[in-house]
């Protein structure tokens, strides 16, 4: 086994996902198959090889620090499932 149900539960916790017992069982089996498959990368010796995060060289995109207009508050709130006209409302944190 590449991954146990307990580990999948821990990863789900990190990803803020709640899995039912049935989902947990199915996902564990599927993740195990997928992780076993990706193990084929171990066939390759990659010592000393630079990782690629971008397909070709790009410079940092910088801009002048100037004030430009941003989304009006009402537009920014319009899609929120819960707001009071000024701020997003969430369940109590403390």
């Amino acid at each position: 086994m590449k991954i146990t149900q307990k580990e999948v539960e821990r990863v789900a916790q990190l990803a803020r996902l709640h899995l039912s017992d049935q989902e947990l069982e199915t996902m564990t089996g599927q993740l195990d198959t997928i992780l076993s498959y990706v193990d084929k990368l171990d066939e390759l010796d990659t010592s000393g090889i630079q990782p690629t995060t971008h397909a070709f060289f790009l410079c940092n995109a910088l801009r002048e620090d100037t004030i430009v207009s941003s989304l009006p508050q009402a537009d920014a709130l319009a899609n929120s499932p819960c707001h009071n006209g000024e701020a997003f409302i969430v369940p109590r944190v403390l």
């Binding site: 999948v8 990803a15 996902l17 989902e23 996902m27 690629t52 070709f56 989304l71 819960c82």
Partner: protein
Amino acid sequence: MKPYELTIAQAREQLASGGLTSRELTQSCLDRVAAVDGKIKAFLTVTSEQALEQADEADRLRTRGAVAPLCGIPLSVKDLICTKGITTTCGSRMLENFVPPYDATVIQRLKDQGVVILGKVAMDEFAMGSSSENCAFQVPENPWKSGFVSGGSSGGSAASVAALECPASLGSDTGGSIRQPASLCGVVGMKPTYGLVSRYGLVAFASSLDQIGPLTRVVSDCALLMDGICGYDPLDSTSVQRPPAPLMAALTEGVRGMRVGVPKEYFGAGLDPEVQAVVNRGIEALKDAGATIIDISLPYTDYCVAVYYLIATAEASSNLARYDGVGYGFRAPKADSLLEMYRETRSLGFGPEVKRRILIGTYALSAGYYDAYYKKASQVRTLILEDFKRAFGLCDILISPVVPTPAWKIGEMADDPLSVYLSDILTISANLAGIPGMSVPGGFSRQGLPIGIQLQGPHFREDVLIRAGYTLERGLNLPPQRPPMD
């Protein structure tokens, strides 16, 4: 010919001569959608009223003088490209009611050119899938055969173009999501070089791989639409600054002297003999037109799926962390604490494939596994890139199949995620390497299902793809693309 049957090039001619108005063309496409979309199920939203207003505006612009080439042309848009005031669901319950407060840069650009937006089309949830069966709302069908998949994740885009509901569509391609459905539905689809088309306003899946591109019925329309959407955008920090190089200018340049590479790893076990036969005919057609055919090897091809499903899921797990039920999107109704609200929102809002990929990505990035999975995959990505660099020292373009098989039946592959992932093997390396790729209709299987031919080129050489694609289209001389659905 009815207006909805026209390609962009044909419609353009009639619009310019005054024989057709954009309103007539748009109304014809809307009527076509009304007539066939109950069966094809490509459209999630049809914006009839706005489309007709945009068409009238395009007609007004035309009476005032010179207009952009795409002025008055209607198209459909994959439902993960933000359209101001028009619901953008990403095929997910999570964004079922999301109405973007702004337009994606590509939409803004097209609107500035007088393009008409007919509506938003179905896709796999968050673009994760290869058949559009992961769409939370409806599964688009292949216009060529009832009950068969249209491919994915831009299945609605490909189906809407193939079903003659619109002459073109905008899709997105993270691992083949434009080219694969284009191949399965018998239309042209292009994934541009990474950075050529702005991603601003594209709902992010895997940011180092995602790219917006066109789906059209013919190669010249693909070139025209590419010319309309390419260009630097300061709002996308990975957007590339380059002088404009119109692809329409390259269209008819031909392939005489072009070195066409045939990568042997793309013709391995699992390739359907009918697909192989179609690609062979494509190779012959390019040879007849004066190209030189060269055998090429891309030895790391076999590792692409593993690399892709680590990098794409890692980036997705990070990108999709934003769906927390606070600023926009779905929120679970009953939750007493913030943590419970996050967990319930994400558990109810995401479908199984999205959850699966978030879990793989989170695992690959988690403490203790990062080096073994994400870093390892990023290193092998370097090897894959070097494969292509070597290949493009020897040839100008690569020709291959797009998908190992024609379209399959809806439901046939649903239970086995790994086998679906493996069907992406021929398209994902272009995304990992950031190079352009294109699917051009090549022929049909005995069952009457379309089969595409893939062309891949070096960074920023879309012109070579367009030249070869146009030559293929001419050389293969396929009968007019008209699915037997009427």
